[in-house]
Amino acid sequence: MVTKPEFDPAFLSQARLGIISVLITVEEATFPELKELLKLTQGNLGAHLRWLEEAGYVNVRKEFVGRKPRTIASLTESGRAAFKCHIATLEAILRNGER
């Protein structure tokens, strides 16, 4: 009997997959940087970041540069581990064919 692979719901959205992919490359990224790289709208990006933060995959902190607030996102250890696991699952699917 072949067991179906379990997918982390965090990666079922391409936007969230993109956010994690950027954060795996850089230690941290600001909100405008993510928005520019992923071509997402402000509201969309904000919603997905909150989703990932609540899942414990992304750490979001706010700081002020002068009077302007700045949102900075970074990947947590569990986010990194989950991403690696997801990549391994995708590779396994491609190796074994459709499940």
């Binding site: 391409q14 490359t25 850089v26 600001t30 928005k35 790289l37 995708l90 590779e91």
Partner: protein, 208 residues
Amino acid sequence: MNTEVASNDLMYIREVLDRTHRSIDQSAWPFVLWGTIVLFWYPIHNLMFLNVLPNWWRQLLIFALGVGFAGMILIGRRMKRRSGYVVGEKTFVGKQVTRVCSWYVGAAVLLSVLGPSSGIIPGPQVPVVWGFAYAHMVFGVGVSTDSRQYLVSAAAIFAGSMLAMAFTQFNGLILGPCMGLGMLVPGVISMRRAKRRTMAEENSGDKA
């Protein structure tokens, strides 16, 4: 999930990773700035020593460095205001490039000061020290970014530095074009590539 979806997801991840890594291309502007300065500075300096021009080398040095550092601050501020720019500098490659450049420029500054004062490097050979430092720096950038244009430029600057060492009297006239164009050309290529990529992505209406 089927193989098509898995394949699409992996392709998307690769695309995002590539986009993030390649954003380093936008950070090539210091090469364009210093390349342009050196292209004119070294030959003019050389002509002063050959008595073709009035010998105002100190004023020229202050002017060239002033334009360079003011440019670094002003252009740097302007570029950082563009969204998505800074991310290139925060990548692993971006950090390696910064380390490589800091090391060679730092070493060249130290040698330019200590060399002539200790008598180990004759004063007129100081531009050659910078030539070799630039050649190694550009080579390091080429290796870090895996860009052929930097590797070719490094070879050209290195060859120019060897030639300049043999013809000390004309070293500025040799090094100016070699070092200047050796930084200017790969810098412009990198920036144009970044611009082309941005335009292509905008035109394709790529949405994540």
